[in-house]
Symmetry: C2
Subunit: 199 residues, 2 copies
């Protein structure tokens, strides 16, 4: 896939996707565009292009539908309660397998990994998910090698993050991998992502 | 203000508010509801209740308008490029002063503090903002005592956070202050907010 037209990033959204799973990586990747020489274009898309109601009730209107999002270099697949519906949807899993065959990197956040597993995309691979859902991941595909320590796992063309906020770390890592550590540091500084958790 | 009907939290949104400034605190405060004995209700609102286009193009449809959001215990005011328009809008600043008189806690994220300063709400108080905008804050109100070290500053009825992701830390702190450290820890664990920045 050529980068002549820039690097295309799609953040998939669906009903009851977790708000921060969507917006953490979106923020990092959109901020990347302002610091980047490789022109990432970041947009959200839903199955039909219609608005979605996220897990805590936030309503978001995506930029595109699955049909018009076009070829992607990076697909971000968030988690949230809505993954239960997605992983039981055979048509959706078939779509995901087709996208996977054409997309250099697929990156799940939190329980987004469960949908990837249901589609067979994590078979025999190292991966992670939200810490409350390791068993669900193992049930969906016992061949997944679950990493219970990492905030994200890079297995090349498939990257998975731990729960919710770990999607921010994964996105910063992807900026580093896809462009440079220097640019990722600039994004990190801009977002002041250097938390000192109090708890 | 009674808490009989639960604790009401409003996250104000406007065109070109920064995505993570809005959704970081929203996520924390909405997740709080699931762990809380004091029934926080969290909703987004815009001036007229209409949809907004955030700083990086994400379109959000708020739950309410300023007129129908009702009395709040906590107002979250995000930052982003759109604050330039808000801080030059005299009607909006007057609205903010009125809300401030009726709202126990107003909490700004990032450059949201510039709007609070323009409304006179930070006069003589300690506060913070995004690290690129300390001078802008001082220009708007030289009496603000700018804390360039803290991720957030609690001045009682007004709380301000540093840039973008610091809004997450501030929101976790507010859960701790308004309910308990134990509940804040539960939210923190659920969101797996314990980053190990790589950069």
């Amino acid at each position: 896939m050529s980068l002549d037209g820039g690097l295309h990033v799609g953040v998939f959204v669906f009903d009851e996707a977790e708000e921060l799973d969507v917006v953490g990586p979106f923020e990092v990747l959109a901020a990347w565009a302002e610091h980047s020489a490789i022109k990432p274009h970041v947009s959200t898309f839903s199955v039909d292009g219609g608005g979605v109601r996220l897990a805590h009730g936030m309503r978001l209107v995506p930029a595109r539908s699955s049909d018009d999002v076009g070829p992607l270099h990076l697909l971000v697949y968030p988690g949230g309660w809505g993954t239960r519906r997605m992983l039981a949807d055979r048509d959706h899993l078939e779509w995901l397998r087709q996208v996977r065959a054409q997309t250099p990197v697929i990156a799940s956040v939190c329980t987004g990994a469960l949908v990837l597993a249901a589609a067979g995309l994590l078979a025999g691979r190292p991966a992670t998910t939200h810490h409350d859902h390791y068993d669900d991941l193992a049930d969906l595909d016992p061949s997944v090698v679950i990493d219970t320590e990492a905030r994200f796992v890079d297995d090349g063309d498939v990257v998975t993050s731990a729960g919710v906020s770990a999607g921010i770390d994964m996105a910063l890592y992807l900026v580093s991998r896809l462009e440079s550590r220097e640019v990722a540091r600039a994004v990190c500084r801009e977002l002041e992502y250097d938390p000192d958790p109090l708890f």
